[in-house]
Subunit: 422 residues, 2 copies
């Protein structure tokens, strides 16, 4: 048998086992799931030396391979990162369990009681890059929502991920549960991903997390539904009625608090009627924070320190201290610009005009649309989901941050009393 | 330019236009949409002679091609079918508009008001077989939910579909709206479907309706999310505590009211403790209705008129007066059988045992799970959705019949007051 056939067989078997394990998770009580999560937290704490020792192997190999300092940093399971994972498990144990919730149970004219019950999705496949803490965070959320998970992290984190899975599986086994509910793919060969993405018979959903390249290649290959966002090209439009005392801290927070993340600001639109007064002020603040501005000719005329933008700058996700600036004539022009250059991630208006606020919220097509707040709030924790497993900028199933509810489906349930259809 | 390049270009242009039209639909008021639907109903009535004349072309061509009587029947836009389409438009006008509904608006500790607003999905692609009335039904639901639609019906209905679209588009144009909101693909070449399914840049969702072959080929080819059900292998389990006076009409209704549809009964499971008493009774009733029974050896021993089932019978969607019968020893055995042979469509238990009813509803993985009611109730209208555009047996986005809500997404909206993230 060739190596590829071995990979085929191994991945298919993992997927089959995951589906079987998923069936046993449907009927676990909330109490059982919560106590499992707490036990997993204790097990991580207890096995911290083992986990960090395995993590050390990855770090040494990474150094030999010449990984950047930033990558090595993401790879490291420091005491702080371990504490974060442990805290995450305990937090997920406190979140409400979505499974079994019945929505809108109503009575039909023929007496049938019809409602929708939240049920687990089944098996989730998670494909991600270097951070091994995703292994634990994602497994916790999937377990709480009653799903089995197959985790495929970066090859550079393989020892860490396998060690983490071993500890989590140990808890499942000790409680008489199927360890296949949480599996890490032990094969670092890229062919394993291709095979995994073809297991539509067993896997219900794929969530990729990482750079745009990873996500695009997962979407190309997958025969299974994928929830993803490619990138975050987020904008703020400062309307002519905007409260500029609010605008400045919101823009600064959106752009500079953490410029390398998907909910950071990449484009600033300013209404023409206030541009001459406000643009020099905000440009100065941004400049002092080290932000390079690239703008339209009108903005350059107002603020000479702004570099004229190239066509390729508009709609770019810089993930850096660079910001596009454009002067626009109206709310409609701002919304048209967002529709053209945005990535349906996060769009913000700064306005005191009631009708503009309402129109912006209703008409802008993005996963999160906000009035008078920082783009940085587009995050599961910040928006009240408790924790997030990812973010979706496609509209099917989930749009925006995905929490526990987004890891469930709603089936119809019917309480009858002998009804037949006439 | 080759013919294929022409098709590529034409379909891509349609998809682009649909996306542009979709943006204009987002902000249509409910009143505007309802009056459009009523005007469309009037226009169909007014243009009935033209539509039926175009339909006649399809019928003549179909006869020449040797289509079966059943297919010609589905193809015909008789006065009755026309009245059904017109009534459907008027009915959709009365349904609540999901767009703009805000769910769960709550206040975060920092004062942000966070909720979710229903918004249109964007552009829906509908791929279906012979019935031209689907053209109008689907267009009406998509318009009401603020979506543009591209319709690709069967080649044998092309004149009918184009005539219907012409009438509906006439109403859009008369009201100053973009006719690209409702488009019928004028190309009958199969290559058009392949190209359509690759327009992920412009189309948000594909809904195929038709036989399993059509649906499988759409799923194979599509780069766009697909909502579908392959088939309906629906079961009823008569528990030992089941009320047999309810069981008999439910079984008869499920199997014989319309055996050729996806929510018809295909498998009957009977608890061992009541099999000897009940199986002869129900077998007799079914036999008198012309239903052929294929059963396990235990059932054959109880009722000699039952034919021993072949392995291939279990899990088959007969769509005919044929029914599989199996004696089982417990609720768990019945649920395991459904998990193995069902199609996640509709599963029913007949029971008076409270705990069994609750376990069945919670644990059986199907789009609709019912107690003491006919499988035939798995239908958007019957379950209270008003109308349905299809049914989904995959769990992402929708599970079960899909109505107007399933043609929307929920984005996050945030009312802020200057908040920034700390």
């Amino acid at each position: 048998m060739s190596q590829n056939q071995d990979i085929d067989k191994a991945i298919r078997l993992m997927a089959q086992k995951a589906k079987k394990a998923a069936r046993t998770l449907i009927s676990l009580s909330t109490e059982t799931k919560n106590s499992l999560l707490r036990q997993m937290a204790a097990a991580l704490e207890e096995n911290q030396p083992f986990i960090q020792q395995e993590n050390q192997k990855d770090l040494v190999a990474g150094q030999k391979k010449g990984l950047s300092a930033a990558m090595l940093d993401r790879l490291e399971l420091s005491d702080k990162v371990m504490a974060g994972m442990i805290g995450g498990l305990l937090e997920v144990a406190t979140l409400p369990d979505p499974v079994g919730e019945v929505l809108g149970l109503t009575k039909r004219p023929n007496g049938l009681m019809v409602g929708r019950m939240r049920v687990p999705l089944g098996v989730i496949g998670m494909i991600y890059e270097s951070r091994p803490n995703v292994t634990v965070d994602a497994a916790a959320l999937c377990l709480k929502a009653g799903n089995a998970i197959i985790l495929r992290g970066g090859s550079e984190a393989i020892h860490s991920n396998l060690a983490l899975a071993e500890v989590l599986q140990g808890v499942l086994v000790a409680r008489g549960l199927d360890p296949a509910a949480i599996q890490v793919v032990p094969i670092t060969d890229r062919a394993a991903v291709t095979v995994l993405l073809a297991q539509e018979e067993f896997i219900d959903l794929i969530i990729p997390r990482g750079g745009e390249g990873l996500i695009r290649s997962v979407c190309e290959l997958s025969r299974i539904p994928v929830l993803k966002h490619y990138k975050g090209v987020c904008h703020i439009f400062v309307d002519k009625s905007g409260d500029l005392e609010q605008a400045t801290p919101i823009i600064m927070n959106s752009k500079t608090q953490r410029p390398g993340v998907c909910n950071a600001l990449e484009g600033l639109l300013i209404h023409r009627e206030i541009a001459a007064g406000y643009l020099p002020i905000i440009a100065k603040e941004l400049g002092q924070a080290g932000v390079e501005l690239r703008g339209c000719l009108e903005s350059v005329a107002l603020v000479p320190s702004i570099t004229p933008a190239q066509a390729s700058d508009w709609g770019t996700e810089f993930l850096d201290l660079i910001l596009c600036v454009k002067v626009v004539g109206s709310l409609d022009e701002a919304m048209t610009y967002m529709a053209e250059y945005g990535s349906q991630h996060t769009e913000v208006i700064i306005t005191e005009d009631y009708s503009h606020a309402q129109r912006f919220l209703a008409e802008v097509d993005a996963s999160t649309v906000m009035v008078n707040a920082s783009t940085r709030f587009n995050d599961g924790g910040q928006l009240g989901l408790g924790a997030e497993i990812g973010i979706s900028t496609t509209k099917l199933h989930a749009y925006g941050p995905m929490g526990l509810e987004e890891l469930t489906a709603k089936k119809f349930i019917v309480y009858g009393a002998g009804q037949v259809r006439s």
